[in-house]
C-alpha cells in the first residue's frame, strides 16, 4: 500500500463570488521514498493541494475526497491530530524564504520548535540537534549562525534553514512548494541538489511543486501536470517528457525558452490567460484555450486514459485505454 494516497480530492474556496473549486477530483499516490513533481501555472491548484494535505486551507475552504496517510484519512482528523502530523510526519518548505521565517525569533529557536513540539527535546539537547541539522543542510559556520536572526542571512541560507526545520523530525513526506523560485539561479541548483540528497539519504517521500519544468524534470521520478484544479497528464518523468501528450502540457513545454532555438523563431505560448477559478469552463477546464477543443470538451469531463504503460492523460482527443 502506498504511503500517501490521494483520491478524488476536491477543494472549494471562498471567493468574492461564492465558492469556487480550486482543486477538482485530484488523485495520486506516493510510495515510501518516492518522488512526485506537480507542475502547473500559478492558480492551477497545486499549492492548494499541498495545503489540503496538511489541513492548512484558508478559512472557509472545504475539502472532499480522501487523503490517506498509512491508511488514515487526514481529511477526517481533528485539529489536534493534524498538529501531530504537521512538521512531524509531513513537513513543508515554502516558496519565500524571506517571509516564511519569523523575523523576531533567532533561527535556532525556530528550528528547535518542531523538536520541542514533537520530540519533547529542550535545552542543550535541542541545541545540539539544531547544530547537527544546520550542518547537515550545509549552512556555513552553524555555531555562529544558530543565534542569527533571519534578516542577517541570505536568501539561500534562509532556504537552508527552512529545510533544516522541515527535516528536524525526520518526516515521511517532504512537501516543497516552489522551493527555489525566489532564489538566484546559481543558488537554485544547490538547493535542489540538497533536497534530492536529503530525500535519498533519509528515505523520505518528496512532493515537489513547481511551475518550472526544468526543476521538476531533474528532481523527481513521477510527474503530474495540473491545470484548472485538475491533473491533465501524469506518469513517470522519463516517458512523460519524452512524449508530452496533453495540449496543455505541450503548450507549457513550448513556452519554455530553450537554448538552440534559432532567433526569429517565436516562443510558443498558450493563447489567453489563466482564467479566474469561477470562470473556468465546466467540463475540460482547458477547453477555452485549447486549439483542439470541440463540443465534447465543453460537455463532458475527460477521464484519465493510459497512453503508455506508465503515462496517462485526460483529454477527449487522445485515445488509449480508459481505466
Amino acid at each position: 500500500m502506498a504511503l500517501l494516497s490521494v483520491e478524488n480530492l476536491t477543494v472549494e474556496l471562498q471567493t468574492s463570488r461564492g465558492m469556487a473549486a480550486a482543486v477538482r477530483g485530484v488523485s495520486f499516490a506516493l510510495e515510501r521514498g518516492g518522488t512526485l513533481g506537480i507542475v502547473g501555472e500559478s492558480g492551477c491548484g497545486k499549492s492548494i493541494t499541498a495545503l489540503a494535505l496538511l489541513g492548512l486551507l484558508p478559512d472557509g475552504a472545504r475539502a472532499r475526497g480522501r487523503v490517506d496517510l498509512d491508511g488514515t484519512d487526514l481529511l477526517t482528523l481533528d485539529e489536534d491530530a493534524l498538529c501531530h502530523i504537521r512538521g512531524n510526519r509531513i513537513a513543508m518548505i515554502f516558496q519565500e524564504p524571506m517571509t516564511s521565517l519569523n523575523p523576531v525569533h533567532r533561527i535556532g529557536r525556530q528550528i528547535a520548535e518542531p523538536l520541542r513540539l514533537h520530540r519533547g527535546m529542550r535545552g542543550a539537547a535541542a541545541r545540539e540537534e539544531v547544530l547537527r541539522l544546520l550542518d547537515r543542510v550545509g549552512l556555513p559556520d552553524p555555531a555562529r549562525r544558530i543565534d542569527a536572526y533571519p534578516h542577517q542571512l541570505s536568501g539561500g541560507q534562509r532556504q537552508r534553514v527552512m529545510i533544516a526545520m522541515a527535516l528536524s523530525c525526520a518526516p515521511d513526506i517532504l512537501l516543497a512548494d516552489e522551493p527555489t523560485t525566489a532564489l538566484d539561479v546559481t543558488i537554485q541548483g544547490q538547493i535542489l541538489d540538497l533536497i534530492s540528497e536529503l530525500v535519498e539519504d533519509n528515505g523520505m517521500g518528496l512532493i515537489l511543486i513547481s511551475h518550472d519544468l526544468g526543476v521538476i524534470g531533474e528532481t523527481v521520478d513521477n510527474v503530474a501536470v495540473m491545470y484548472g484544479g485538475a491533473i491533465v497528464e501524469e506518469g513517470a518523468a522519463d516517458s512523460l517528457f519524452a512524449n508530452l501528450a496533453h495540449p496543455y502540457s505541450q503548450g507549457l513545454f513550448a513556452a519554455v525558452p530553450r537554448p538552440g532555438l534559432s532567433r526569429g523563431n517565436r516562443l510558443n505560448t498558450i493563447p489567453g490567460t489563466v482564467p479566474e477559478l469561477t470562470d473556468l469552463p465546466p467540463a475540460c477546464t482547458f477547453a477555452d484555450r485549447c486549439a483542439k477543443a470541440t463540443d465534447i470538451c465543453w460537455a463532458q469531463v475527460p477521464v484519465m486514459n493510459r497512453i503508455d504503460p506508465d503515462h496517462r492523460t485526460a483529454c477527449h482527443h487522445l485515445g488509449g485505454s480508459v481505466e
Binding site: 496538511l54 504537521r86 517571509t99 516564511s100 523575523p103 525569533h105 526545520m165
Partner: protein, 315 residues
C-alpha cells in the same frame, strides 16, 4: 545598537531643550512684562516693583532663562508665587494622585484592549468582532469628561456605590484612596481602550496572514500556539507605537479627568495656577509634562528596537 541609542538620546535632549525655550518665550517674553501678566495691568506700581524684585524679573530674559535651566539641573524649580513653597514640593504632592491615575488608566486600557483586540481578530467578521468594533467606534466619539460625568451620575448619584469626586489622601487608608480613583481611572481608560483595541485587532489580523505564521502552523503548532508564539510579538510593534503616542494623551488627559472628579492632582494645580497667574508653577509643570511626553517617545523607540531586531540595523 549603541549608535542607535546615542542618536535617539541626542534628539531627545534637543527636543526637551527646544521645549523649554518655547515655554519660556510663550510665558515670559512674548506676552510682555511677566510682572504685569501675574498681577494684571491695573496693579499698583509698588506691587509690580515688589514682585519684580522678589522674582528677579528685572534681569534680562536670557539670564532668567539660564537661571531657570541651571536650577532645574539642581532639582530646583523656584518658589510658587501664590503658595510660597517650592514648586518641586507642590508637584511632588500632586503626583501622588496624578501618577496612580495615569498608570491605572494605562494598565486598565492595555489589559482590556489587548484582550478585546485579540478576541475580535480571532472572531474576524463574526458577531463578536462587530460588537467590539462598534464599541470602539463609540469609545472614540465619547468625550472622556462626559463619560466621567455619566459614570458619576450612575455610580454616585443613582447607585451611591462610589464617591462623586474628591480625594481623601493616601493617609486616610489605601482602600479609600483607591475607591476615589476607580471612576477616574475607568473614565480615562475609555478613549485609550477604543484606539488600542482597533490597532490590536488590525495588527493581529495582518500578522496572522504572514507567511511565517503559515510556517509555524506547518510545523505542527496549533492555532492558539501560533497566535501566542508567532503572531502576538510581531503584532505588538504597532500596538506599542500607538500605545507610546497615547501615553502623551493619557498624561495630559489627567488634567481633564482631575477636573471632572475634583482630584487634587497636577492638573488641578496647573489650572489653579492659571487662575492665580502663578507663572512659576505653570512654566515648570508644562515643561514637566512636555518632558514626560518626549521621554515616553524615547522609551518607545528603544522598546521598539528590542521587540523588532530588524530596526536595530536599519535605523
Amino acid at each position: 545598537m549603541s549608535v542607535f541609542l546615542a542618536r535617539r538620546f541626542l534628539s531627545f535632549l534637543i527636543t526637551v531643550f527646544g521645549a523649554s525655550v518655547i515655554i519660556f518665550l510663550l510665558l515670559e517674553v512674548l506676552p510682555g512684562d511677566p510682572a504685569l501678566t501675574m498681577l494684571g495691568v491695573d496693579a499698583p506700581d509698588s506691587a509690580i516693583a515688589a514682585i519684580r524684585l522678589e522674582l528677579g524679573l528685572d534681569r534680562p530674559a536670557f539670564v532668567r532663562y539660564v537661571d531657570w535651566i541651571a536650577g532645574l539641573f539642581h532639582g530646583e524649580m523656584g518658589l510658587s508665587y501664590v503658595y510660597k513653597v517650592p514648586v518641586t514640593e507642590l508637584i511632588g504632592q500632586r503626583l501622588q494622585v496624578t501618577l496612580p491615575l495615569a498608570i491605572g488608566a494605562m494598565v486598565v486600557a492595555t489589559l482590556v484592549s489587548l484582550s478585546l483586540g485579540i478576541f475580535a481578530a480571532t472572531n474576524h467578521n463574526r458577531i463578536g468582532d462587530y460588537g467590539v468594533m462598534g464599541f470602539s467606534q463609540l469609545g472614540l466619539a465619547i468625550p472622556d469628561f462626559w463619560f466621567g460625568i455619566l459614570l458619576i451620575i450612575l455610580f454616585a448619584v443613582i447607585l451611591h456605590w462610589l464617591p462623586s469626586g474628591g480625594f481623601p489622601g493616601w493617609d486616610e487608608g489605601i482602600w479609600r484612596g483607591i475607591r476615589s480613583l476607580i471612576l477616574p481611572v475607568f473614565t480615562q481608560a475609555l478613549g485609550l481602550t477604543a484606539i488600542m483595541t482597533r490597532v490590536t485587532r488590525s495588527s493581529v489580523l495582518e500578522v496572522a496572514r504572514e507567511d511565517y505564521v503559515r510556517t509555524a502552523r506547518a510545523k505542527g503548532l496549533s492555532r492558539r500556539a501560533a497566535l501566542w508564539g508567532h503572531v502576538l510579538r510581531n503584532a505588538l510593534v504597532p500596538v506599542l507605537t500607538i500605545g507610546g503616542l497615547l501615553v502623551a494623551t493619557v498624561v495630559t488627559g489627567t488634567l481633564i479627568i482631575e477636573n471632572v472628579f475634583a482630584l487634587p492632582g497636577v492638573g488641578k494645580l496647573i489650572f489653579d495656577a492659571i487662575s492665580n497667574r502663578d507663572l512659576m508653577v505653570v512654566k515648570n509643570v508644562v515643561l514637566l509634562f512636555a518632558a514626560i511626553v518626549v521621554v515616553v517617545n524615547f522609551i518607545v523607540d528603544i522598546l521598539y528596537a528590542l521587540v523588532d531586531p530588524r530596526i536595530r540595523i536599519h535605523s
